[in-house]
Amino acid sequence: MSVLRPAAVLLALAFLLLAAPLLAAGARADTIHVGVTVSATGPAASLGLPEQKTVTLLPTEIAGQKLEYTVLDDGGDSTRGVANMRKLIDDGQADVVIGSSVTPVSMALIDVAAEKKVPLLTMAAAARLVAPMDAQRHWVFKLPQNDSLMADAILDHMANHGVKTVAFIGFNDAYGDGWLRETERAAAAKGVQLGSVERYARTDTSVTGQVLKVIAGKPDAVLIAGSGTPAALPQKALKERGYKGPVYQTHGAANNDFLRVGGHDVEGTILPVGPIVVAAQLPDSNPIKQVALTYVHRYEAANGAGSVSSFGAHAWDAGLLLQAAIPAALAVGKPGTAAFRAALRDSLEGLHNVTLCHGITSMTPDDHNGFDQRARVMITIQNGVWKLLP
């Protein structure tokens, strides 16, 4: 008997743990359940962690309806992401799902969103998440700016500053692939010649070979397509090998750890970012300034000064979109019903001129991102801080 007892207790506990969400869900039929799956661990943790922390700051009541958030971690793994989303919808009765942090996982979630007919707000960047628009992507909305918007901004800046040839060093993954495609397109449009194209991995400890080849080609400028601190590695190597020309980075590099790791070697880097990164430097006439500063203050009050990143702002923007879209959807159906979810999707698609931290969005049936050139600014690094370029 004494051997059996712990087993019995464990079984009872397991049963309670499994059953609790179901029982609880039944008791709260008219709250809006928001499911969140982020990559809070794994290679994309520097994106997923601030997103996860931001979710705790999202509104808990919209138009008199309580909102409840359930956050799961997918570790940047597509299989876990899909399992999370099914769990959030089947067990947690999610009416809308926010996630995931990276493109590969979000791509896998598209099918689930379409199958379950639940709107998905993704915080991953690739344009192909919402384009070309089809029956699957009908349910997907994307918060970060399209790469094409950012690539146009970079090539514009190059063309205006007399750059004739550009070399490319990018991640050896989907991020680098996407940027290479966009750079080729934008460079052709602006008449800038794309020189040597080199690739490296996030975990590489040396990029000497790539950098030597780039320098041998004598380009006017170098574009580095990486995200977070690994984007600093080629730039430091370029500096070490005596490259003097301008270096461009993508918005993926725009976090404070990039500055910490890059140090003096990244001074003068030019990159496009969402306005949130330099919110305090925006002119007062820019409506984004107020919205972005509100988020910065809320986040830093909870997590300490200087902790804010542009990635977490995507989660905040998801909250802003919900705040704008939910009232209209409530008029159509009760939370938890298929009618409410469909109405919420329609309402999201009809949003017009909503000001977010990252820009001003106007969704259309064909454009589920909705950002225009107001969603990016060009910045540089001066004395170790981001500086808005005029």
Partner: protein, 345 residues
């Protein structure tokens, strides 16, 4: 591709190869003595690097707390396995080894970390924090399985690797760090500039290899390790404690891993999961060397480093493919030549 570029690539390859060589040596050592394929080797690189970087930034590295927890776990595990025969002297030694060292490391770090005492002290302190984790892990995870098959030990090693990877994320955060090097100077050799840190890496690697050679040839402990590697049963019959041999092998592996991390963190940004891929390349070298030959593994590691460096110049998109594909012809050649591979003792 002019001669200067060739020289720079060669230099880069040799420096990376030296690190791979260190890791390959410790993988061969641990495998020979304990039959464990030590996959967490890479984590020791990352832990060593990030602990050193935290100390360099004047912060308290989170790994100290992990060291204390692992020490306590190892103490508990050993008390349990030896509960029937534990003379007071052995008990004192056990307590000093598993609780005293972490406590000393904790107190020292507390005192020294805010002072930023200079690279040498920081490096030694980082070694003191990270190295003992390896024997503690051996006591907790591997010693109870010492008689199990290579496959079971491999799976336990994978488990330890995953656990340490996750702990690394908790302790050091998702972002990477860099730290000050041992030397800022550089040496000009014609058109080639050799950074001081690269000289440190190659020099320490050579010194460590010589030291290991001396250890295995001329000391009793080293000979006991070799005996255990050659024949475990025979070693036990002549009174060599194979568990103790395992502990020494793991300590050496932890030391080499942490030292490699400390050596590379001034050259590149190290993340909590960077170590794995570095460890894998050391592993590639160890396999090319047959998992048994130290000079073979070291030479193979140099070859891997140089191959990596040149393929990153010629075909950067396929660099890893080229490096890891290099195993296949070697395995083919070995299996065609060697016939049946002996698996268990």
């Amino acid at each position: 591709m002019d001669p200067t570029i060739t020289l720079i690539l060669l230099q880069d390859g040799i420096v990376n190869g030296a690190i791979y060589a260190l890791l390959a040596l410790s993988l061969v050592l641990v495998f020979a003595v304990t039959r464990v394929v030590f996959i967490p080797q890479g984590e020791f690189v990352a832990y060593g690097a990030l602990t050193y970087a935290a100390l360099d930034a004047g912060q308290m590295p989170g790994s100290v707390w992990l060291l204390c927890a692992l020490g306590a776990a190892a103490c508990g595990a050993s008390l349990w396995t030896q509960r029937r025969m534990l003379p007071p002297r052995a008990l004192a030694r056990l307590l000093a080894g598993t609780l005293g060292i972490p406590l000393a490391a904790l107190l020292l770090t507390r005192e020294l970390a805010p002072l930023r005492p200079g690279v040498l002290v920081q490096a030694l302190l980082a070694l003191l924090i990270v190295t003992p984790m390896a024997p503690y892990l051996y006591r907790v995870a591997f010693r109870p399985l010492a008689q199990a098959s290579v496959l079971v030990l491999l799976i336990a090693a994978v488990g330890v690797h995953l656990a340490m990877g996750g702990m690394g994320l908790v302790l050091f955060g998702p972002e990477g760090s860099r730290a000050a090097g041992f030397s800022d100077g550089s040496l000009d050799l014609g058109s080639l500039t050799v950074p001081g840190q690269s000289l440190w890496i190659v020099g320490l690697t050579l010194a460590l290899m010589l030291g290991l050679y001396g250890f295995f040839e001329f000391t009793l402990y080293g000979k006991a390790l070799r005996a255990t590697a050659v024949n475990r049963l025979g070693a036990r019959l002549v009174g060599i404690g194979t568990a103790q041999s395992g502990e020494i092998a793991f300590s050496l592996a932890g030391l080499i891993g942490a030292l490699s991390g400390i050596l590379i963190v001034p050259l590149t940004t190290v993340y909590y999961d960077t170590g794995f891929i570095i460890g894998l390349k050391g592993f590639t070298a160890a396999i090319i060397g047959g998992m048994a030959s130290y000079p073979g593994a070291a030479l193979a590691a140099l070859a891997v480093g140089v191959l990596e460096s040149f393929s990153s110049f010629w075909a950067s998109a396929f660099k890893e493919v080229i490096v890891f594909t290099a195993i296949i012809p070697v395995l083919l050649w070995r299996s065609l030549r060697g016939g049946v591979v002996e698996d268990e003792e």
